[in-house]
């Protein structure tokens, strides 16, 4: 084959120089370690290689089979939310020094350690906790880690989780818990959606490691009873884990102030494009205490000083805890997480500032509340289902006439993507969908949705 543009030493002359130095004639000899009985002699069942132009045509051609984003007005949320991503975020996240780096020390990679520490600091401020770990893949996996942390730190084996948590998240939690802990559901009030404190108290036991709640909940409303839940948990010697959506914290009391021991959440709203659910970040924060920190498998980056006064350095805390060192003794898995996403989130939060995040949260609430009002005006629709205060998502119930599936199919014809169908996940809610409205939805967009729904329900 011709010399490959990504493989400088595929040049036959260079290859021969290398082989001569090694002392072999045929590169095949270098694969002698693989026994003949299992060797594959090809060719691989793959097409021929392509030039860059051909690859571009191929991929762009495939992607064009997607409907153009600006031709689809979407009201989907449920763990991945549409927000405006500032150009600066794209600029920094495409810096090749960040993009193509990996695991150097702070001597060569000072930038990524510092950016990560800054990210950790900002999350700490948002949730009011002093310790923040290196982030993991997403909220679901972060909640799995948080649950393991609580079980290990407390030595207990039961985790009480609000029934209003998304089943997908519960599935991930269970896959993470292994035999370490068992997830048990706690009821919610069917009017307000708030956690049932009676059911919580009843389910608390000497074996309860922690209570896990979300704020806002999966259904989009604010859980008001944080402090009371925290007291119930702590009185029982259990921990409180709170899962959060970070932009809401521009307006809401941070969990650290109502007794959370561990906080986890989704960083995708912080400057990450939705990317079909492929760009996310799970952050974990906790009280800055060794027993808790020892119970996490994530890397912990601390700021430090250097020999030179006035310089910042960075290193790892208790490095022997992570799976790289502790292997099967590690509290949880440690791996290539979401560093670039964290750096992007640091940029995003730096741009927002304290006023920006408050204004953003407020305008989101205004728009979503407007949407709830408009939709409730339509006959056959109850929005929201729960009478609590909502942030950016809300449940919309369509009565008994049409299924969510049918409604959403019909909406597509209007160029609108309706909310997530909850009817299978939560049959007790009937024909209900989860709608999301953020700062990217204009009044016109919302009015358009209302008109389309009205049409569809006729």
């Amino acid at each position: 084959m011709t010399v490959h543009r990504y493989i400088p030493n595929s040049d036959p002359e260079v290859k021969k120089e290398l082989l001569d130095e090694i002392g072999v004639k045929d590169p095949e000899e270098l694969f002698a370690a693989i026994p003949e009985r299992i060797r594959f002699h090809g060719p691989l069942d793959l097409p021929h290689g392509m030039s860059e132009h051909e690859v571009r045509r191929l991929i762009e051609g495939l992607l064009s089979k997607n409907v153009k984003p600006d031709e689809m007005l979407s009201f989907l949320g449920a763990g991945c939310w549409p927000h405006y991503v500032p150009a600066v975020c794209d600029e920094i996240s495409s810096r090749s020094e960040f993009l193509t780096a990996y695991t150097g020390d702070a001597y060569s990679d000072l930038g990524r350690y510092q950016a990560l520490f800054e990210f950790q600091s900002m999350i700490g401020e948002l949730v009011a906790m002093d310790a923040v770990t290196v982030p993991t893949y997403d909220w679901a996996t972060a909640s799995g880690d948080a649950v393991r942390m609580a079980a290990i730190a407390s030595g207990r084996r039961e985790i009480l989780v609000a029934r209003s948590t998304s089943p997908d998240k519960l599935s991930v939690m269970r896959n993470y818990c292994g035999r370490l802990a068992e997830i048990m559901p706690v009821d919610y009030d069917h009017q307000s959606g708030q956690l049932s404190l009676e059911d919580l108290k009843e389910k608390m036991s000497p074996n309860t490691a922690a209570v896990y709640i979300e704020n806002p909940t999966y259904f989009g409303f604010i859980e008001n009873q944080g402090e009371r839940i925290s007291n119930i948990a702590h009185d029982n010697g259990s921990l409180l884990i709170v899962g959060v959506e970070p932009l809401s914290l521009g307006l809401l009391t941070p969990p650290g102030e109502y007794g959370a021991d561990i906080v986890c959440g989704e960083g995708q709203p912080l400057g990450l494009h939705m990317s079909f659910g492929g760009a996310s970040l799970g952050f974990i924060a906790c009280r800055d205490e060794e027993p808790l920190l020892s119970a996490t498998g994530h890397r912990l980056v601390t700021i430090s000083t250097t020999e030179c006064r006035g310089e910042w350095g960075f290193t790892y805390v208790l490095p022997e805890r992570s799976m790289y060192a502790a292997r099967e003794k590690a509290p949880s898995i440690t791996g290539t997480g979401a560093a670039l996403c964290a750096i992007t989130a640091a940029v995003y939060l730096s741009l927002l500032g304290p006023n920006g995040i408050r204004e953003l949260a407020e305008t989101i609430m205004q728009r979503s509340n407007y949407a709830m009002k408009r939709l409730s005006e339509i006959r056959g629709i109850k929005a929201p289902l729960f009478n609590s205060t909502h942030f950016e998502e809300f449940t919309v119930n369509f009565g008994g006439r049409k299924t969510i599936r049918n409604i959403n199919q019909a909406l597509i014809k209007h160029g609108i993507q309706g909310g997530k169908d909850l009817s299978k996940e939560f049959p007790e809610l009937g024909n209900t969908a989860l709608y999301c409205v953020t700062e990217i939805h204009t009044k016109e967009d919302i009015d358009r949705l209302a008109a389309a729904l009205k049409e569809v329900l006729k």
């Binding site: 060794e290 020892s294 119970a295 498998g297 022997e320 805890r321 003794k329 590690a330």
Partner: protein, 376 residues
């Protein structure tokens, strides 16, 4: 280091002199005289200086306490220290008693670590004096070195001492062994377990944390986890032969049974049947019932059988059967012996040794095991 650390140095000036001239050790005036006659020269002083040179880098923050003349004072000065000298000896006529006294003095001075230069005999003397009341580490200079209390070489001894004093090494219990004189007279090489010292240990590259956690259990917690695992497996209608050692003792502790540290004990249905038993007593008590052995590797080379537990004779081993031998050891212990290195057996009977050889599982934690080779 914020606070100053106290380091005790004890040198056995005559340890190792026998080796060069083909003698087995230098315990006793007679043998020492013979060694000198054969032209032996002291080994310990030079090695001690080699170790101390490593420590000299942090001399400012260490207070050195040592014994006079060539039991430490000379070596310390030569390495650039200004030591505090305690005790008194007769130069050139030091004995085991001097080592014992030195160790006692160091303990009184509340040193953080006793660094001693010598062999098994010296280790035995230190152990007799201070037991596990103060950590100790050996600079290897003797001929007999079965004990698991020595660093690999003098320089490493120095390095490990610095690490320990800086709070960057944890403590592991190391067996102190010495020649089984009886066996020696009968022409066999065997070592007996004299006791335990608390020895600093540093696993390659992993710096142990000061506080134990889920991921980094300290030695005690590891032993506890192993004990828990063993307990869950114990069968009712089976005798358990508990061999010497702290890890096996942890199993006994979990059972709620008193165990001798250095001897072989027997339990049945969770209760102690006999303590510190010999081969005959064991065979008598077990009779024809099913029996299992719980054993932990002993000494620097990791002997399963043959050093420190002669009571477990080939007869007992064959009676119990290979599949009923439970080997337990913490990862730290296996690391000290050498990861991937085989554990050893030397029962005195070739056939029994052969039966025991091969690969076997070792319990190293609650839900953790490793597979190691056993060789004779």
């Amino acid at each position: 280091m914020a606070d100053s650390r106290k380091l005790g140095i004890i040198v056995n000036p005559i340890a190792g002199m026998g080796g060069r001239v083909g003698l087995k050790g230098t315990d006793g005036k007679e043998i020492l005289a013979r060694a000198r006659d054969l032209g032996a020269t002291p080994v310990s002083p030079a090695r001690t200086i080699e170790a101390l040179r490593e420590i000299a880098q942090v001399a400012d923050s260490i207070e050195l306490v040592t014994y006079p003349f060539d039991m430490g004072e000379e070596e310390a000065r030569e390495s650039g220290f200004d030591p505090t000298v305690v005790g008194s000896i007769t130069k050139n006529e030091t004995t085991a008693a001097d080592t014992v006294n030195a160790a006692t003095e160091m303990l009184k001075c509340q040193v953080d670590l006793i660094l001693f230069a010598g062999g098994d005999g010296t280790a035995r003397d230190v152990c007799r004096s201070v037991g596990q009341n103060v950590p100790a580490l050996g600079i290897p200079t003797g001929v007999k070195m079965h004990s698991a209390v020595f660093a690999v070489n003098p320089r490493k001894a120095g390095e490990l001492t610095v690490r320990f004093l800086q709070g960057e090494a944890s403590l592991c219990e190391g067996e102190v062994m010495d020649t089984d004189e009886q066996a020696f007279r009968e022409g066999r090489i065997s070592a007996q377990l004299c006791g335990y010292l608390k020895v600093p240990y540093e696993m390659e590259s992993v710096q142990p944390s000061k506080s134990a956690s889920f991921a980094t259990p300290d030695e005690k917690t590891s032993q506890d986890l192993i004990a828990q695992c063993i307990l869950e497996r114990m069968e009712d209608s089976c005798y358990y032969i508990l061999c010497p050692g702290t890890t096996v003792k942890a199993v006994a502790d979990k059972l709620g049974v008193a165990k001798t540290l250095l001897g072989v004990d027997l339990t049945y249905k969770g209760a102690l049947v006999g303590s510190d038993l010999n081969e005959q007593q064991l065979l008598k008590l077990i009779g024809r019932k099913k029996a299992k052995i719980i054993v932990s590797p002993i000494g620097r080379q990791g002997f399963i059988f043959g050093r420190g537990n002669p009571q477990i004779s080939p007869a007992i081993i064959r009676k119990v059967g290979r599949q009923n031998i439970l080997i337990i050891a913490t990862s730290t212990k296996l690391s000290a012996i050498g990861l991937g290195r085989p554990l050893l057996v030397d029962t005195g009977d070739e056939e029994t040794d052969r039966m025991l050889s091969g690969y076997t599982r070792v319990v190293t934690g609650y839900e953790e095991e490793v597979v190691v080779k056993v060789s004779s």
